[in-house]
Every structure is written in structure tokens, then in C-alpha cells.
């Protein structure tokens, strides 16, 4: 194939597929990847150019995404691969559900059988930490517009919240903290959902995460910055001036524009505040939970909550400096990705201690069946951020009175696994 056809017209996808912009943002980042610095007019011209050069209609996916260096038998184009990856990521929701649902069903049956005291074995503190991780990643992925990953994290939030609700109704969690936490979770999920739908946060008029910059700071994806629709409003105002409309209609339109601007500002403020809170909480939780997973228990008891306080204080300082625009641009832009990094690092620290224990003391693995192990590998492979659900701890494995699969998937020995993010 002619080399001139290389790359075809990725930017033209946004116009060719006819998908609404807002849906496209949530569906895939492929279009956003290709929309940078390419105007629609240029895309159209590029199609015309490619057609002229090739002398054939380049409407097909293969033609659009073909490269002379790629053999002709390769038919997996960028767009098709995007769909495959989306499907795979979406399919991860199903096994993710199977990780927690059996425990929820079992808890319900225990409560129905008049044994709510059995739920006391659940380490709800670890569940709360896991819920925080899910919320962090939910905000991160919704900010990216990754629908499939957002759904997985949303499922994680909902199932963990359902589990904590069961424990609360069983009387093992104080009602006050539970209600406060529930309100915070509902607010967080609602804000993330609004962000996914483009109702808050820095979204331009096309629903794209790429937004204008403030103070020369590139605002892309989950980077925080203000968003103004002044240019659009100005255009509309100029258009109004050309039309012969009555003053009352003008006033009404201006009022609507003012309300829209205020609503947009409110949405941006809400998202910015939420991101700030998550950043501080994530910075507090990362050293606290991470060090608890890695350090010996005696040392953990000695340092107490110092790591969390230090991390949270650092987060507050960074947040204040960011508000005062005293942070370097690199740090300012990194704040939006903080929730993703903190949650990822939290999850990354967890298996290290267990793995070290496994290699150092293989006897702790005694009694673990190979079948159960094979099943336990599925969740982390399917969804990395769910691997806390199938986490094994030495203490858990030593509890031979539990059924192995129950230990793997339900972790009924959660009380002994503290500090532990494992699902009970």
C-alpha cells in the first residue's frame, strides 16, 4: 500500500463515526488521542488528500489505519483493538462481582438464620480502606473518561458498601461513623458519575477532557484547571446582536447564559474540591496503610498514626500552595493524577509482604489446594485493582478451620489479618 496512506485519518474518526462527542469521550480515548492539534477542516482535507493520492476510497478501517510497514494480513487496526480492549476491560466486571457477591449472600443468610454475631469476624476497617481505594480509582477513571474501568470501580464501591451495610445492621459498626461514611461515599460516587457524564469538572464544549489552559499549565485529562465558556457566550452574544430580537428575549438569554456559567463554575468547583480532598486523603492513607503492610507489627504499633498524619499534612500543604498558585507547573499538573497513583501504590504494597512471607516461610502455605489457588489467580489477573479481594495472608492460611475457598474468596479470618484490605 502506498506509504502516503499511512495513518489515514484518525482525527477524522470523530466526524466519520457519527458518535456524539460526549459519548465518544466516555467510550474511548482513541478519539481524544487523535484530536490534538488536528482541526476538522484539516481532517477533511486529509481524507481528500489520501483519496487523491491513493486513487481509491479509503473509507474502511483498514485503509484508514494502514501502514506500509505493517503486512497487509494484519487487519487489527487501532480502532478494532480499541474495541477489543474496551470489551476485555468491561468483561472484568463479571469476575469482579463474583469476588464479593458470595460473601454478601453468605452474610445475608447468616443474618437471616439469626447469627449476626458471625459477621463480627469481618475486618470492617480493612473494608473501609478498600472502599477508599475504589473511590480514588473511580474518580481517576471517570476523569479519564474510561467507562469500563469506572464501572469496575463503581461495582467495587457498591459491593463493599453493601458489605459494610450488612456489618452495620449486624451491629458491629457504630451507626454514627457509618452514616457519615455513607454520606461521603454517596457524594463521591455522585460526583464521579457527574464527572463521567460531563456535568462537572473541566469539560469543554464538546465534552472532551482536553480543556483550555490556565497560567500556561497544560490541562489535559484529569488535570485541574478552570473552565470558561466565555468564547462560546461571546459568540452567541455577537450572534444575538446581528439578529433583530426583542430586549426581553435578550435579557432572558443573558440570564440563562449567566445561570449556565454559574452552574459550570459550581460544577468545576465541586470537582476541584473533591479532587483536593481525595488527594489529601490518599496521601494520608498511602504511608499509613502501606507501611502497616510492609513493616513488622511491633514497629507499626510504635509509629501509630504518624505516617498518616505526615502524609495528610503534606497533602494539605500542597493543596494550599496549589490554590495560591505557588506550586511549580509540573507539581500542579500532577495533582489530578495523585488519586490514581496513591491508590495504585496502596494496592501495590499489599502483596509484597505476603509474597515475601510465602518465599521465606513456605510452610505457611500448607493446606492450600492447587484448585483454590488457581481460582485465586483469576481476580488479580482480571482486574489488578481487585487483587485485594483475593489477597492471601499468612494468618488466613493458617486458619485451617476455614474452608480454603472461603478463605480465598471470603477471607473470614479478616480479624486476624488486620491491617488488611482484604474482603471478608
Amino acid at each position: 500500500m502506498d506509504d502516503n496512506a499511512l495513518g489515514g485519518n484518525e482525527g477524522g474518526d470523530s466526524d466519520a463515526d457519527g458518535t456524539p462527542d460526549r459519548d465518544r469521550r466516555a467510550r474511548s480515548s482513541d478519539d481524544s488521542q487523535t484530536s490534538v492539534s488536528q482541526s476538522d477542516a484539516f481532517d477533511a482535507a486529509y481524507v481528500s488528500y489520501s483519496d487523491d493520492v491513493d486513487g481509491e476510497d479509503c473509507a474502511s478501517d483498514f485503509c484508514e489505519f494502514s501502514d506500509a510497514r505493517v503486512p497487509s494480513w494484519v487487519t487489527l487496526t487501532r480502532r478494532r483493538w480499541s474495541q477489543v480492549t474496551m470489551s476485555a476491560a468491561s468483561a472484568a466486571t463479571v469476575p469482579f462481582l463474583f469476588l464479593t457477591m458470595p460473601q454478601i449472600v453468605k452474610n445475608a443468610s447468616l443474618v437471616a438464620a439469626g447469627r449476626p454475631d458471625a459477621l463480627a469476624a469481618i475486618a470492617w476497617q480493612g473494608q473501609v480502606a478498600g472502599l477508599l481505594g475504589n473511590l480514588l480509582l473511580l474518580s481517576y477513571f471517570t476523569d479519564k473518561g474510561e467507562l469500563s474501568a469506572s464501572v469496575v470501580q463503581g461495582v467495587g464501591v457498591c459491593t463493599t458498601a453493601a458489605l459494610l451495610t450488612q456489618v452495620t445492621f449486624a451491629g458491629h459498626i457504630p451507626a454514627g461513623p457509618f452514616l457519615i461514611g455513607a454520606a461521603a461515599v454517596i457524594c463521591g460516587v455522585s460526583i464521579s458519575l457527574a464527572r463521567l457524564l460531563g456535568k462537572c469538572g473541566p469539560v469543554d464544549e464538546n465534552g472532551s477532557p482536553v480543556v483550555p489552559c490556565v497560567d500556561s499549565v497544560p490541562c489535559v485529562g484529569n488535570v485541574q484547571c478552570d473552565l470558561r465558556f466565555g468564547s462560546i457566550d461571546d459568540d452567541e452574544t455577537r450572534a444575538d446582536s446581528k439578529l433583530d430580537i426583542t430586549s426581553s428575549e435578550k435579557n432572558t438569554r443573558r440570564l440563562l447564559q449567566t445561570m449556565k456559567r454559574l452552574f459550570d463554575d459550581f460544577g468545576n468547583t465541586i470537582w476541584s474540591v473533591y479532587q483536593g480532598i481525595l488527594g489529601v486523603v490518599g496521601l494520608a492513607a498511602l504511608p499509613q496503610v502501606g507501611l502497616q503492610s510492609l513493616l513488622p507489627e511491633e514497629l507499626v504499633l510504635k509509629i501509630g498514626f504518624v505516617p498518616g498524619i505526615v502524609g495528610g499534612s503534606l497533602g494539605v500543604v500542597l493543596l494550599v500552595l496549589g490554590r495560591l498558585k505557588l506550586l511549580p507547573p509540573a507539581l500542579a499538573t500532577a495533582w489530578g493524577r495523585l488519586s490514581g497513583w496513591t491508590a495504585t501504590l496502596l494496592f501495590m504494597t499489599m502483596p509484597v509482604a505476603q509474597l515475601a512471607s510465602n518465599f521465606a516461610r513456605p510452610a505457611t502455605l500448607e493446606g492450600l489446594s492447587g484448585t483454590a489457588l488457581g481460582l485465586s489467580q483469576i481476580p488479580p489477573t482480571v482486574c489488578p485493582y481487585s487483587y485485594q479481594k483475593g489477597r492471601l495472608t499468612s494468618d488466613c492460611l493458617r486458619n485451617t478451620h476455614h474452608d480454603r475457598l472461603t478463605v480465598l474468596f471470603s477471607n473470614q479470618c479478616g480479624r486476624r489479618c488486620s491491617p488488611c484490605w482484604a474482603t471478608p
Binding site: Q38, P218, G221, M350, P380, C383
Partner: protein, 122 residues
Amino acid sequence: MMVPRALYTRDLIWLTGSTWGCTLMGWGVMLSLFLGRHVDGTRYIDAFTFGALTATFFLYLAAVWFVDGVSALAAGYHAGWRLKAWNFQGAADAQPRTEVKKKRDEALFAKRAEGGFETKTE
């Protein structure tokens, strides 16, 4: 199953977490079980099962990187195994394009500015 999407979007955070999770928590724990032995000397997992799962797992990862790289090259982007493919400044939505693609884009921009498309000649 999340790794392909993380790689496709060139999301370093996502790819780090997903790869770490399935490698360390998945295959790593399985390796520890393969190396560990029962009291009677037998392994927790037999060599055939461990070998088959290991081959499947790493072949899957290799296939994902290969297919993603080919599709990226076909679309005018850098393959994921090149550092140029990754934007470390946070602009994850803007994947760097290959030099060939960039030069062609620049030429097309220049041609468009000159009105060259209307002549339908190249």
C-alpha cells in the same frame, strides 16, 4: 483483561497497577507455591500446571504488547515498547506520533495553507 486497555490508553498508572497486580499477586504467589513443598516433599503445584499457567500468562502479555504495538504503528503512533510512545507529562490523551506521521502532518498543514488540496495534485 485490564492490561490491554491500560496499554492502549498509554496510562502509566493503570498499566503499572495492572501489570504489578497480575504479575506479582498472580504469578508471583503461584511461583511461591511451586517452590514450596509439602511435608512429604511434593510441591504445592506440580511442574506441569505451573509451567502451563506460566506460559499462558506470559504469552498473553507478550501478545497484548505485540498487537498493541502493531495497531499503534498502523495508526501512526509509536509502539508501546518505545519510550517515545509514553507521555510522562500527564497528557495521557495525546499520544506522541511517529516522526513519519508528524512530518506528513506538517506537510499536509503546509499544503493546506497553500490551498494545495484544491488542485488535487501531489
